[in-house]
C-alpha cells in the first residue's frame, strides 16, 4: 500500500477499511515506519490536494478524523505500563490546532516505555506551566506545523527554563523542516525533524543514562 492509496481511503471516509489496511501493514512494519512512511505522507498529500483545489476543508477534516482513529486504535499502551523510562509532556503551541503529529510522537515515546502526557494542541503557555509544575516531566516536547508559531518558541523556552527540575526541551513538527531554528538550538532545545530522529534521540538518551548509572 502506498501513502497515496491510504490518503484516498482516508478521504473515502471508510474508517474500518483504513484500520484493516493499517493493521495488515503493521504485521511487517514498525509503528515508526507506519507514521513516517505512510501516515505523514498521506496527510501531506491530503493537504496538497486542498492546495490544488481538488478537495474541500470538510474532506480534510474527515480524513484527519479517520487518521486520528487509526492512530488511537493501533496505539500500544502496554509497553508504557511495564517500565518507566521517563516522563514526557507534549503539546502544540497556542494558536494552532494540528494534533496528529502529537499523537504519533506520544506513540513513539510510549513504545520506548515512557509515560506520556499529551496536552493536545493550542496550549497557552500559562496552562503549560501549570501542568509542568504539577507533573514534573523529564522532557517537554513542542510541536509546530505552522512557521508563524515559531516566534513563540523563545517565550516557551524561557518559561520552561525556570522549572525545577529543568526538563529537556524538544521541538518538532513540519515547521522545523521549513524554518531556521538555530536560536532555539542555542538556548539548548533539541530540534527533531522527523520521528526517526526522535527515536534516535530516545535511544541515545537511554544509553547515556545507562552509562551514567554504570559509572556511579
Amino acid at each position: 500500500m502506498t501513502s497515496d492509496e491510504l490518503a484516498d481511503i482516508f478521504l473515502s471516509g471508510d474508517d474500518y477499511y483504513a484500520l484493516r489496511k493499517v493493521r495488515y501493514y503493521l504485521k511487517t512494519h514498525t509503528r515508526k515506519e507506519l507514521f513516517q512512511e505512510l501516515l505523514t505522507p498521506a496527510m501531506y498529500r491530503i493537504g496538497q490536494l486542498w492546495q490544488e483545489n481538488v478537495i474541500s476543508v470538510a474532506d480534510e477534516h474527515l480524513a484527519t478524523a479517520i487518521c486520528d482513529f487509526v492512530i488511537s486504535a493501533t496505539d500500544n499502551r502496554s509497553q508504557a505500563e511495564k517500565e518507566a523510562a521517563g516522563k514526557v509532556m507534549i503539546m502544540g503551541f497556542e494558536g494552532e490546532d494540528h494534533y496528529l503529529g502529537l499523537k504519533m510522537v506520544a506513540c513513539v515515546f510510549r513504545e520506548h516505555g515512557w509515560v506520556v502526557y499529551d496536552m493536545g494542541p493550542n496550549l497557552p503557555l500559562v496552562h503549560a506551566m501549570d501542568a509542568a509544575e504539577q507533573l514534573k516531566p523529564d522532557v517537554i516536547g513542542l510541536s509546530a506545523a505552522l512557521v508563524s508559531r515559531l516566534p513563540l518558541v523563545k517565550s516557551y523556552m524561557d518559561a520552561f527554563g525556570i522549572l525545577d527540575p529543568k526538563p529537556a526541551v524538544l521541538i518538532g513538527g513540519r515547521a522545523v523542516t521549513l524554518a531556521d531554528l538555530s536560536d532555539a538550538k542555542a538556548e539548548g532545545a533539541v530540534v527533531l525533524e522527523s520521528l526517526e530522529t526522535l527515536q534516535n534521540w530516545i535511544r541515545s538518551r537511554k544509553e547515556r543514562n545507562h552509562e551514567t548509572s554504570a559509572s556511579l
Binding site: Q51, S56, V57, D68, D97, Y99, S148
Partner: protein
C-alpha cells in the same frame, strides 16, 4: 485601502484586485472581518497564500476556491472565494463564509475531541493516584509488630503476589535486623491467597531470615495455603503451628 462606492455596503466581503493581488478596493465588511493588508495574500493564513497565488489568475479562476482568512485577532475562518476577471486585468472577488451548519458541526467535533483528550488525561492522573494507593496498600500488608525483646509478629494481609512480596521483603529484613529480633512469627490468618511467584518470594524471604540466624514460625495456615506450600516442594526453614496462641505459649 479605499472603498469603492458601488459595493461598499454589500453584506459580504468583496474585493477588487489587480494581477499582483493588490487590493484596489473592498467592501466595509472585508475590512472589519479580516486583518488589514494592502495585498490580498496578507489577509490569509500561511497555508492558503500559495493557493491564492496559484488560483487567482485569469487562466484558472473558473471554480470557487477555499481559502483560510485570518480575523483581526488571528482566528482562522474558511471561506469560498469566487473570482471573475475583467478584460482590463482587474478581478472582482467575493468571499462567501462556509455554511453555518458546517461551522457548527466542525466546532462540535473539535469540542468532542478536546473532551476525549481531557478525559484521557484525567484518567491517566487517576490511574497514577490509584497506583500510588496500591503501593501504599502493598507496603501496609505486612506490618512488623514487636511482641517483646526477642519476638516479631508479621501478619500477611490479602493476596500475596510477586509485586507485594518485592515491596515488603526489604522492609521486613530491615525491620528484623534493626529491632534485633530472634524469632519471627508469620501469621497467615488474614492472607487471602498466594500465587506461585509470591510463594517463591516468601520462601526466599524465609531463607534470608534463617541465614540471619532467625527462628521462624508460621501460623494461621488455611488448608488452601497448605496445599500451596506443599506444591512448592521445597524445604521451608520454619516450624508450623495451628494458631498464634500455640506459638506464643510454646515459646514461654
Amino acid at each position: 485601502m479605499k472603498q469603492a462606492h458601488h459595493f461598499e455596503d454589500w453584506p459580504l466581503p468583496i474585493f477588487q484586485l489587480d494581477r499582483e493581488l493588490t487590493i484596489l478596493a473592498s467592501s466595509k465588511l472585508a475590512s472589519s472581518l479580516f486583518k488589514e493588508s494592502a495585498v490580498f495574500t496578507g489577509l490569509l493564513e500561511e497555508g492558503s497564500r500559495q493557493k491564492a497565488v496559484e488560483f487567482l489568475n485569469p487562466a484558472r479562476s473558473f471554480q470557487p476556491i477555499e481559502l483560510t482568512f485570518l480575523s483581526p485577532l488571528d482566528e482562522p475562518t474558511v471561506m469560498d472565494v469566487h473570482t471573475k476577471w475583467e478584460s482590463d486585468g482587474i478581478a472582482n472577488v467575493i468571499a462567501v463564509p462556509k455554511d453555518r451548519h458546517y461551522n457548527r458541526v466542525f466546532d462540535q467535533l473539535t469540542h468532542l475531541r478536546k473532551r476525549l483528550n481531557e478525559t484521557n488525561y484525567d484518567l491517566l492522573l487517576e490511574k497514577e493516584r490509584a497506583d500510588e494507593l496500591l503501593q501504599n496498600v502493598r507496603e501496609l500488608s505486612a506490618p512488623c509488630i514487636k511482641l517483646d525483646q526477642k519476638r516479631l509478629l508479621i501478619p500477611l494481609f490479602g493476596l500475596i503476589d510477586q509485586q507485594k512480596m518485592e515491596t515488603v521483603r526489604p522492609r521486613i529484613l530491615e525491620n528484623v535486623y534493626r529491632q534485633d529480633g530472634q524469632i519471627v512469627i508469620f501469621d497467615l490468618t488474614a492472607m487471602d491467597d498466594i500465587d506461585n511467584e509470591g510463594l517463591t518470594q516468601l520462601n526466599a524471604l524465609i531463607q534470608s531470615l534463617s541465614i540471619m540466624g532467625i527462628t521462624i514460625s508460621i501460623t494461621g495456615i488455611h488448608p488452601r495455603h497448605a496445599k500451596r506450600l506443599h506444591e512448592l516442594n521445597a524445604v521451608i526453614y520454619a516450624t508450623f503451628a495451628v494458631s498464634l496462641q500455640d506459638v506464643l505459649l510454646n515459646e514461654h
